[in-house]
């Protein structure tokens, strides 16, 4: 947690009726401008939070499709790294921030668009149409 994050007092926490949820950015398709070290660090932080694959282009020109699940931030880019899985390889991989030239949020955001309100609306429409066995189904794995 960073120092600039607003902190609740204990009294405020205990009196909370409802908790404001997280605000999700629409990142799918975004290609951040990486003009300096700070841009890269911020973009990779968002990539760590993103529930979809990203495409990393290395300074060598190599492209990697990756799901970034962890990051370690050190004092320099060379000391900082992301950990990721690729669709093709079974093992965890690690990549230094210093090797990354470009980042694209290329994969579908898997946390987007599945709101409770959508389910309520779909349920009521299907029910009104006389449907039975109404259900949401998991996304296919292909």
């Amino acid at each position: 947690m960073t120092a600039e994050v607003m902190k609740y007092t204990r009294e405020q926490v205990e009196a909370l009726e409802l908790v404001p949820g997280a605000q999700h950015e629409n990142l799918e398709g975004w290609i951040p401008t990486l003009a300096d070290e700070n841009d890269l660090r911020q973009a990779l932080e968002k990539a760590f939070d993103y529930r979809g694959d990203v495409t990393l282009t290395l300074k060598s020109g190599e492209k990697i499709e990756a799901f970034i699940f962890n990051r370690h931030t050190g004092a320099t880019l060379a000391e900082s790294y992301v950990q990721y899985f690729t669709p093709a390889a079974p093992e965890k991989r690690k990549l230094s921030y210093a090797e990354i030239a470009r980042l694209e949020f290329s994969g579908k955001d898997r946390a987007a668009g599945k709101h409770w309100e959508d389910w309520v609306k779909a349920y009521n429409e299907k029910k009104a149409a006389g449907e039975t066995n109404i259900a949401l189904v998991p996304d296919t794995l292909e």
Binding site: Y8, V19, G21, F69, G107, R110, A111, W116, V120, Y123
Partner: protein, 365 residues
């Protein structure tokens, strides 16, 4: 209970300040349901296809040393080696809680062997229409109940676990307790919903004041037939009768990414080992005492039940409070009033199926 009590006492006597009670071992994230409120399964297909090997599961259990292992997910019964994983953990004398939506339970039961170490913890969020609506699939309740009855009949230990969100009807929850106890389950597990960052829906998370009111209404004036598979002191915490600080290291989580930092609910990164998790996490940044907004509404068992268990087994005063809580009905006239009053806030649609449209409009208003 004796195993946990002696474990806690040994840790205290050895001066160990941070030790695990329950390993949250997620063997996979794949699930057969698509609950709109879930914050656990939003991953690309190649991640959902991955799973821990039995050897990775055993290594995690041995490394952290917790006496209990909870197998959530995803849906653990989708793991092709789940029987091997369960048997291996049972051989290691771990108390295993296999958390399942029970869609496959009845069919898979012959593959498992009843044991005092194995409990099926079946996800049921309430009465039939409430549960089906909560998990976004009609017919789920009936399938799960058939699985529960078959498991009980075969001699397995079975509990139910329910997550309650804003708008939950306390009277219905109490009627649900009657239903599940009639099924022959050993006990009920309850938890308020947590505001997962990654949950697609971000509008139904109760704050602490509302959680306490809801659980006071539900858990006061208990019937003798109700059994809860939870620390009585943790239930008192939910009812607003006690205060606890979070013990996030009490229920460490391990999955395909590693040891999740800092807890089962928050994903702030991963450590390669349990030792690294303990030694390199800045624990002061988490829990309600920290003021961290991400922890502000959390009253979830993975963080606060270890605190209650440690108090219960850590002192005579705590132990006596636990015994008293086990046998108390928690008579409370004020709670009866809460139960009979119309909700003071607009009901969410979760368990108001017939009024879903109206409720949604009211929530938006």
């Amino acid at each position: 209970m004796g195993t946990v009590a002696s474990y806690v006492l040994k840790k205290r006597l050895s001066g160990n300040q941070r030790y695990p009670l329950v390993l949250m071992l997620e063997p996979l994230f794949r699930c057969s349901l698509a609950c709109a409120g879930c914050g656990k399964v939003q991953y690309p297909p190649h991640i959902l296809k991955k799973q821990l090997t039995p050897e990775e599961c055993f290594a995690a259990a041995e490394e952290c040393g917790a006496p209990m292992v909870s197998l959530p997910g995803g849906e653990p019964l989708l793991h092709p080696q789940i029987v091997e994983i369960v048997n291996g953990l049972v051989e290691r004398k771990k108390y295993v809680y296999l958390c399942t939506n029970a869609l496959e339970l009845k069919r898979r039961l012959p593959e498992f062997t009843p044991s005092k170490y194995l409990t099926f913890s079946v996800h049921l969020d309430g009465q039939r229409e409430h549960h089906d609506f909560a998990v976004c699939r009609e017919g789920t309740y009936d399938i799960a109940v058939a699985g529960i009855r078959e498991a009980v009949q075969r001699g397995f230990r079975v509990t139910t676990n329910a997550t309650l969100f804003d708008g939950a009807d306390p009277a219905s929850a109490r009627a649900f307790f009657d239903e599940v106890m009639e099924m022959g389950v050993e006990g009920i597990v309850l938890s308020p919903g947590y505001s997962y960052d990654k949950a697609p829906d971000q509008n139904r998370f109760m704050g602490r004041a509302r959680v306490r009111r809801l659980f006071r209404a539900i858990l006061s004036n208990r019937k003798p037939s109700w059994k809860f598979n939870m620390s009585p002191l943790f239930l008192e915490f939910l009812m607003g009768k006690r205060n606890y600080e979070c013990t996030p290291w009490g229920s460490p989580a391990y999955n395909i990414f590693g040891w999740q930092r800092p807890c089962y609910l928050l994903q702030e990164g991963y450590a390669e080992s349990y030792k690294e998790l303990l030694e390199t996490t800045n624990w002061d940044e988490y829990g309600v005492a920290s003021g961290n907004p991400k922890c502000a509404n959390c009253m979830v068992s993975c963080g606060y039940e270890p605190s209650a268990v440690i108090e219960g087994f850590g002192s005579l005063k705590g132990f006596w409070a636990m015994v008293r809580g086990t046998f108390s009905s928690y008579r409370d006239e004020g709670a009866l009033k809460l139960l009979n009053e119309a909700p003071s806030h607009p009901p969410a649609s979760l368990i108001q199926i017939e009024q879903a449209e109206t409720a949604l409009e009211e929530t938006k208003a």
